[in-house]
């Protein structure tokens, strides 16, 4: 899918300088795989944004119990086939509570994507800032920041995230999770940005700006940043699937969001022992997680091939 873009983009060099945004979107749209991914991503984001509305459309709140939809004598198994899928419960219900799976999975999308996006934002902002600073100023700043990157990368991140999530009990879980995931992600992008900044530092136009008396801040924001925005955008997109997976993994391990909030990982964790007795309960959140990770990966691959064709693949 995304990989084939490599060949197609290299085949037709742009004749006229096109607006970069427009050319990028045109290229993205030209491949059916990427197109599908783009649509999937758009739908998921839309789902997340309109989750309460969608749930209302389905007729159930994600926390409402429906004791009629389950059979208490069978340990709360959903009544009916396919995990209780019916006109009333579009994707069936959760065993033991009878909560509507559609409402829960849609609200789960909200939580999962919110955390993934917010954590990505933290990583990108922190990583870019550190990378530019290290690459542009060099010297002691570079040494300190590079050491910090090495140190952060030496942390057994999953183990640390689990530990930190179980330590803090009283804080906002979504916020905590975002920060915890973000803290360990920044060195990756910082290294890439540092490399780019290092190579741009002594380009003529940068030197020219410096000679013209521009301050460091102005040079960084006006000259350096715009020139490395391509790779940053590409890697940002590629970070998102990892963030979604990490959030799901933490929730799966039981250190994620608090009930009754749902997230995909937490739903899968609860459904995992039901894979035989109520397969739909297990498959539905898994499918959402799978599609989200897949779509963002494909999109990210495509963007990287377009925006940073020569880029160092770490």
């Amino acid at each position: 899918m995304a990989i084939t873009l490599n060949t197609s983009t290299q085949a037709d060099p742009p004749v006229l300088p096109e607006h970069p945004l427009r050319s990028t979107s045109r290229k993205l749209w030209s491949d059916w795989g990427t197109r599908t991914a783009l649509i999937a991503v758009a739908l998921l984001i839309l789902t997340a944004l309109t989750a309460p509305l969608l749930a209302r459309l389905g007729g159930w709140s994600p926390t409402a119990f429906d004791s009629r939809a389950i059979d208490p004598y069978l340990g709360g198994m959903p009544r009916g086939s396919l995990g209780g899928i019916s006109a009333e419960h579009w994707l069936g219900v959760e065993p033991a509570t009878g909560r509507d799976l559609f409402a829960r999975v849609v609200h789960g999308a909200q939580v999962s994507l919110l955390i993934a996006f917010a954590a990505t934002a933290i990583v990108v902002v922190a990583g870019t800032a550190a990378g530019i600073a290290a690459g542009y100023f060099g010297g002691r700043v570079d040494t300190v920041l590079s050491r910090l990157m090495d140190l952060t990368m030496s942390f057994p991140s999953l183990i640390f995230m689990i530990a930190m999530m179980s330590v803090a009990q009283d804080v906002n879980r979504v916020l905590l999770m975002t920060v915890v995931i973000g803290v360990f992600g920044w060195p990756g992008i910082a290294r890439i940005v540092r490399g780019e900044a290092l190579s741009l530092r002594h380009r003529e136009y940068v030197d020219a700006a410096r000679v013209a008396g521009s301050g460091s801040w102005r040079i960084l924001t006006r000259e350096i940043l715009p020139n490395i925005s391509g790779p940053i955008i590409a890697y940002t997109t590629l970070l998102i699937p990892g963030m979604i997976s990490t959030e799901a993994a933490l929730s799966f391990l039981g250190v994620g969001v608090r009930p009754p909030t749902s997230s995909w990982g937490q739903m899968i964790a609860e459904a995992v022992t039901y894979y035989e007795t109520d397969p739909m309960y297990f498959l539905i959140p898994s499918a959402f997680l799978f599609i989200a990770v897949l779509a963002f990966t494909v999109l990210g691959d495509a963007l990287r091939d377009i925006l940073d064709p020569q880029g160092g693949r770490s």
Binding site: F65, P72, G75, P259, P260, T273
Partner: protein, 581 residues
Amino acid sequence: MSRQTRALSTALSASLALALLGACTTQEGGSDPDRREQPGVATGTIIGGLPKKGGTLTVLSNQDFGHLDPARNWVMPTMDFGTRLLYRTLTTFKAAPGDQGSGIVPDLATDLGKPSKGGRVWTFKLKPGLKYEDGSPIRAQDIKYNVERSFAPDLVGGPDYAQRYLADTDGYTGPLQGKHLDSIQTPDERTIIFSLRRPVAEFSYTVTLPTFSPVPQSQEKGVQYDLRPFSSGPYKIKSYARGKKLILVRNPHWAKTTDPVREAYPDQIVVQMGLKGGQIDDRIIASEGADASSVEWSDMQPSSIAKVLPRPEVKRRLVAERTGCTDMLALNTSRPPFSNLKLRQAMQYAVDKSAQVTASGGPALNDIATRYLPPALTGEGRSNSAYGRSTTSHADKAKKLLAEGGKPNGFSTTITVSTGDKTRAEALQQSLSQVGVRLKIQTVDPSVYYDTIGDTKHAPDMAINGWCPDYPSGSTFLPFVFDGRTIKEKGNQGNVSQFRDKAVEKRMDEIAAMSDAASADRAWNDLDIVIQSKSPAVPLLWKRKPLLVGDNIAGAFGHGAWTGQFDFAVIGLKDPSKSKG
């Protein structure tokens, strides 16, 4: 799921549950006409008939044992494992299903002990010819030594009855530094005399606890005794890889002739630890190869219920004995809103108990609790509920009480539960919202659950609290849960409601001083109703312990004394040749 381990080890577990009366076998809840047949085999049934001697019994577990050191073993089913297989106690429970199992018989001792000085002094004589795994004799001094060990700050976690009952123990910190207690006398190698600080009528029951098993001083290894307790029972430890595998083999020096309860059918017992709960169920349901000769240690997963109940050939292999504990919704009486009696009483009607049942695995595995004392401690029909035996909520009655309490439109309140009880909290949230009470759920990791709700300054308005009686009388239940004098500022456990009531406390003291067990029993039951009317907690569930056995298992039944865990004294195999040696 090590969570359950923690939950057990700190809460329910700490206690010795005891099925006393016939209430155990009779079903409650006649108000539910929809009730189908009983789950699994009927209480009192022994699965698989009489076992044959020999073979390897495998126990599949999702966790390791907390402590096998007899001075530290107070986690409910682990006490069963330890006292039935590895160490003998002065007295022990009969190996019988149902209510018969709550009776006790002499084990190391020749009788149930002789009280004197009005129950303040208890004398036990040991049987002659008792031996450890190396053939050396079991001496009364060794039992004294182990009781003393339970005072050591290194050897924590065990039953604290010695600290509570023995006279003159202030400042005592165990025998590791060479100091010994004067309140236990051993005039000769077969006599042990306990001097208590107050009369204890049921001390014969106290000495069923692993604290009262022998540990020779020569085998002392401090905290590492835990890894290899020295056996006085029918089996000894061959190898113990913590968290992985425990192998028990026969102790050749144990003599059946001295032991009235233990049959020791299998030649070898292997405990596989750290397996996944759902996979254990699947293996035992399939019963292939060595799995046919296996039993499960940890509860069957709720998700497996649908694989078991509809299939008669599997359902025949399910034990679901009552745990003997009561699950309650504790209401924090120390501050608003639940300092208001009317609001507390409103909760009795607002909570939908049938939703609690469903959230905990359904009516197959739970009964609705209608009072604090579990059925094992009350005669059938003797203790009544102050609020009727309704299974669902009564919104109208609840609203009326809310109005009387000055909150006709409900209020906001908080609950803290451990992550395992999440669904139950959500079910509460739902039912309370019907009467306008807005419940905010805080879940905490099981490892910090009791620290969180035990911090009285920051305690939530509500918490789910379970208690299992230590004795066949209310004296091991009500004073632990509702005596205001036991409240601690931090690490408060038991009286989570922070319920302080002078009249109730006075009555508790009066009943504790009664020398006649039967009238004390009646008095505790009456006190239960009195406390119910003050509503410091809403009784929720009497749970059952669902456990599966492989189809080569015989002699299996859930023992009421150990929250419904199998009685390991008499479990064995139908055909030992089928088990892998």
